[in-house]
């Protein structure tokens, strides 16, 4: 398999020699990486070249990579994901150690442990810079060239990443395994921040048994919630989440009856919630999300971070 096959030789040519870079590349030119030829294509563990660092990048020796619950389905073919049109390495998050540093990198150091984020946003000062999830998907058609460049993810021994896709963590008490969990928490944290979740508030989490929803329950507690209402369909899994997250968590099993579910959420929230979080992926109806909306007190915020296959119908006067 040639370098050019992976788009590496051409990129090296484009960015010139690496004489201005701090090099401490691995002592071998090859690594093992999982390579997917495309949705439903071959998925194999292959010996491939280790990418060279270039300006603005770091090479990370991966130490822990979390496996998405839907990775198997993604490899087989998932609708609504924009795959690269060339072979690539899947894998979104992870943690590792910086093995080489490119030029134009001012803070991240060789040998530093880093958390890797797949969420990249083009750094130009424009209204709507392209965004993408490395090792997973482009977000919009205009992000395709950006994604093609940074398509390779974390299911490999080494990852070449733009320096702003890594965050150094110097605390040795945090294992790389622990740091690999942080991507799971980062997503709901983004929604809690965006919705201005504040200490002393009560949060309703719709979809609390999922990977992101259960992480949202933990985070809302960590951020000082008075109560966290963990709502979902599976009462056994809700009980597990409530047990793991502590005594401020109130599980509510949703029935699909909007009126009854709204009443149950409001009651568990002590009369009403300040914040509601919709984390349900691929919802087939709007009932659970609407129950979340209706559980809010006056001035409440509903943050949507899941997905829904049908429109979300709103009653104007209820929102106003």
């Amino acid at each position: 398999m040639s370098l050019a096959h992976h788009g590496l030789a051409s990129e090296a040519a484009l960015h010139g020699p690496t004489s201005n870079t701090t090099m401490n590349s691995p002592d071998r030119p090859f690594m093992y990486a999982w390579r997917l030829t495309g949705p439903g294509g071959s998925f194999t563990y292959e010996r491939v070249p280790i990418p060279n660092v270039r300006s603005g990048t770091v090479l990370v020796r991966m130490e822990a990579t979390p496996v998405l619950s839907y990775l198997k389905k993604y490899v087989q073919d998932l609708p609504n994901y924009l795959y690269p049109k060339v072979p690539f390495t899947p894998g979104t998050n992870g943690a590792g150690t910086v093995a080489a540093v490119g030029g134009d990198v001012w803070h991240v150091k060789l040998g530093q442990r880093v958390v890797v984020s797949p969420y990249m946003v083009a750094t130009e000062n424009v209204e709507e810079p392209a965004q993408m999830l490395g090792g997973l998907t482009a977000i919009s058609p205009d992000s395709e060239p950006f994604f093609t460049t940074w398509r390779d993810g974390t299911l490999a021994e080494y990852l070449l990443a733009p320096v702003n896709a890594v965050t150094p963590v110097d605390d040795p008490s945090l294992s790389s395994d622990s740091l690999a969990l942080l991507g799971r928490l980062a997503v709901p944290f983004g929604g809690l921040l965006r919705g201005r979740f504040s200490p002393g508030e009560t949060a309703v989490i719709i979809g609390a048994t999922g990977n992101f929803g259960s992480a949202a329950v933990l985070l809302a507690c960590a951020l000082g919630a008075e109560r966290v209402v963990a709502a979902g369909r599976n009462s056994l899994r809700l009980a597990d989440v409530a047990k793991a997250a502590g005594n401020r968590v109130y599980p509510v099993a949703l029935t699909g009856d909007l009126q009854a579910d709204t009443a149950a959420l409001r009651s568990a929230a002590g009369g009403g919630a300040h914040f509601a979080f919709d984390m349900v992926g691929r919802a087939q109806n709007a009932e659970a999300t609407l129950a979340g909306l209706k559980s809010l007190r006056r001035w409440g915020r509903l943050v949507l971070m899941g997905s829904m296959a049908v429109p979300l119908p709103l009653t104007y006067a209820e929102v106003m």
Binding site: T65, V67, G195
Partner: protein, 65 residues
């Protein structure tokens, strides 16, 4: 009248990992609530099967050998 806000949101700000570490270090956020199961990177197919059936508060990790 309820003065509600409905906010669509995608992902997180760039400093979110620093904020998470700052919650973990003093013990405000305890990652032990999330069960980890580990596989080697070469064993990814087995790890994918495990991840598919694992519960919400569990995480499947692969590590290069």
């Amino acid at each position: 009248m309820n003065n509600l806000e409905i906010i669509g949101h995608f992902m997180y700000p760039p400093n979110v990992f620093m904020k998470l570490v700052a919650l973990i270090r003093p013990g405000l956020l305890d990652l032990r609530a999330i069960q980890m199961q580990r596989f080697s990177l070469a064993d990814l197919p087995a790890a994918m099967d495990a991840a598919e059936t694992a519960g919400g508060l569990s995480c499947t990790i692969v590590t290069p050998s």
